[in-house]
Symmetry: C2
Subunit: 316 residues, 2 copies
């Protein structure tokens, strides 16, 4: 049994991870400011003797005694991270610095939830971990992309300078139960729109691609990476099956026939044209590969959205 | 007459800038931790009624009332910025954040001394400002390269979010009087080695290129950029005349015949292969171009090194 800190544990990926860690019998501390996460996501654990929730902002220092840190706290959808870009940079830099400070002091192992956005609009396809990326340093997405890049730099500098035991995961687009209905990300947007009988909004011509990983597969990978010895990463984690945004929209419409038609809107700035993980490294060192195909994951997500009443009540 | 803050004003570029600003009749405040700078560089102004020196670390908050901020504080040579990589990131991120905080509060205009290193090992040659760069996010140079990239991001986010009046200069390799003798940078290394009758050390085969700008040209450009309306940058500032490192070594040997021979050492990791600024933008909007050719600038630098006794006394 380990004492495990999950920052951002009230969010989408974090709360799914917490469920798994609790089921494995660990002591779990969630540290979350509830900026984009909700207490609902962890409500079923509140009061459990092995569980603690701390409402705290990672940009502020905090003293905790733990064995492992999953550092996920950061707004993840463009809508949220652009809302206060300066805060997003602070969360990535000061938040990661503080968590590395805890890791350094306690000897805990730290896993950083980095992102495929460190590759920017990639010129190499699919993206292996050795690719240095193509990121605009001064654009409207930079607070997130550059913030995560420098969070990775910090991890590696704490590793080199203070021998902090790090794991860097580069997470590709992930979807599943507990996504926020209106957070602007494409899978949740389309499913929400379809359930409400609205038009599905495509930014640009829909030919841009993404590779969507179901959250249970991702959580499995994060836990494997954390508990594998002798590897710092970065390791790509994602589902390599690539779809165009148009294909995704069509799939959602087939599943939810009451959906409105597709509506094409202007493209968003600096929107990457293609994205697909090269997961050779994860296959080899973690003995991991995603198992849930998009068809099946979408069904689970639709069921979750319906359970939450999305589509059968007015939009918040 | 303006109240001008120069962070890093006791360093190489900073102190040359301070001389110019003082000569123009401004009130100048130097804020410097003396990590790589020295009081010697500004000794001639100490006690002057229009001059103040504050020994302070930019990573700590400070209250100052100013009209313009030249934000240069940051170790600039690989030797120094790799010495404490975590500190280098903090200087770039927290230092820039604090200076932007002052600019936001006082309405001061802020010029960031960014660097050609934001282009990394460039795949586009010469480098225009629109190039997004090829930077390793997790290497030993990343603390500097990624640190400066995120400093630029911060400037643009303060510009977009709080309308802070910013100027971002991307400075290419600069050399001249007051460089530190043993800071590992190529021009000062070669001149110092040659004056001491030592071998000139080339890392790699010497075919890598750099474009060297004399410091008076650069100071002129910084002042123009600061005082030009309606432009945020980034603006490349540098001398577009490209030399291989081997050519530079040979030039130094011709000028200082008592120099030892060239000695080839293993290449350093992530060393950019080519670097040359595209200065079309600076020519157009600042009406600026460098005037001092390398031959002439080297003479001034050699004279300065000789005046400081380099080569005629034992190495510190
Ligand atoms: N979902 C994806 O497709 C994806 C892809 C790549 C990377 N990631 C990364 O995974 C992590 C989790 O993403 P998610 O999809 O679960 O997003 P999410 O928004 O659901 O979760 C982020 C959580 O962090 C919390 N948080 C934000 N700022 C905070 C701060 N300053 N202090 C404390 N808590 C804070 C939020 O309240 C939220 O609970 C993020 O770091 C994200 O960058 C996600
Ligand atoms: N010289 C070049 O070729 C070159 C090229 C590109 C960019 N730049 C940038 O120009 C600026 C000045 O470079 P330089 O060549 O004069 O280097 P330098 O090392 O001579 O000057 C840097 C100054 O900043 C001070 N400093 C460092 N960390 C500090 C901190 N935390 N708080 C307060 N002061 C601090 C140092 O003491 C020093 O006086 C740097 O930002 C550098 O990144 C220089
Ligand atoms: O238990 C801890 C240990 C450190 N930190 C913070 O983590 C950061 C980095 O810590 P470190 O000890 O590496 O940095 P230093 O204090 O040397 O700057 C600092 O801002 C600390 O305030 C923290 O919040 N909790
Ligand atoms: O309602 C939406 C939301 C997103 N997208 C597009 O879907 C892709 C994935 O967007 P998301 O924000 O989910 O993830 P990211 O861009 O961070 O990979 C991008 O090309 C978006 O422009 C879209 O066409 N319609
Ligand atoms: O005169 C000032 C104003 C601000 N700051 C610092 O600059 C940073 C950014 O300031 P801002 O007001 O933007 O940030 P906030 O306080 O909202 O985080 C903060 O860490 C402040 O401590 C400073 O050192 N001097
Ligand atoms: O004694 C030296 C110092 C530097 N260099 C090389 O000269 C170039 C410029 O190095 P510097 O550190 O001056 O600047 P930067 O790499 O930051 O452009 C690089 O290719 C270095 O490997 C060299 O060959 N010998």
């Amino acid at each position: 049994r380990q004492r495990i800190l999950v920052t951002g544990g009230a969010g989408f990926i974090g709360s799914n991870l917490v469920d798994h860690l609790m089921e494995l019998g660990h002591e779990v501390i969630v540290l979350d400011s509830l900026f984009t996460g909700t207490k609902e996501n962890i409500a079923h654990w509140i009061g459990h003797p092995r569980f603690d929730f701390i409402r705290h902002d990672v940009t502020e220092r905090i003293m905790l005694e733990v064995d492992q840190i999953y550092h996920l706290a950061c707004p993840a959808s463009p809508l949220h991270y652009k809302y206060n870009a300066i805060k997003t940079i602070k969360t990535n830099v000061l938040g990661t610095l503080n968590m590395l400070g805890i890791a350094k002091r306690t000897g805990a192992r730290l896993l950083l939830a980095s992102t495929s956005e460190v590759y920017g609009d990639p010129l190499v396809h699919p993206q292996p971990e050795s690719y240095w990326g193509n990121v605009n340093p001064i654009g409207v997405r930079s607070c997130y992309d550059e913030g995560k890049r420098v969070a990775e730099t910090l991890c590696f500098d704490y590793y080199r300078q203070h021998h902090v035991d790090i794991r860097v995961a580069r997470i590709f687009n992930t979807y599943g139960p507990r996504m926020v209905e209106n957070d602007g990300r494409v899978v949740s947007n389309f499913v929400g729109q379809a359930l409400r009988g609205e038009e599905l909004t495509i930014f640009g011509d829909g030919s841009q691609t993404r590779s969507f990983c179901f959250v249970s597969d991702l959580v499995d990978a994060l836990i494997r990476l954390m508990n594998t010895e002798g590897i710092t990463g970065p390791v790509n984690l994602g589902n390599p099956t690539e779809f165009t945004v148009r294909e995704l929209a069509e799939l959602v419409r087939r599943k939810l026939p009451k959906s409105g038609p597709i509506r094409y809107l202007p493209p968003t700035p600096d929107d990457p044209g293609r994205r697909q993980p090269d997961i050779h490294l994860a296959r080899t060192v973690l003995d991991w590969a995603p198992r849930v195909p998009l068809e099946e994951g979408l069904d689970a997500m639709i069921a979750d959205f319906q359970r939450r009443g999305i589509g059968s009540r007015p939009v918040a």
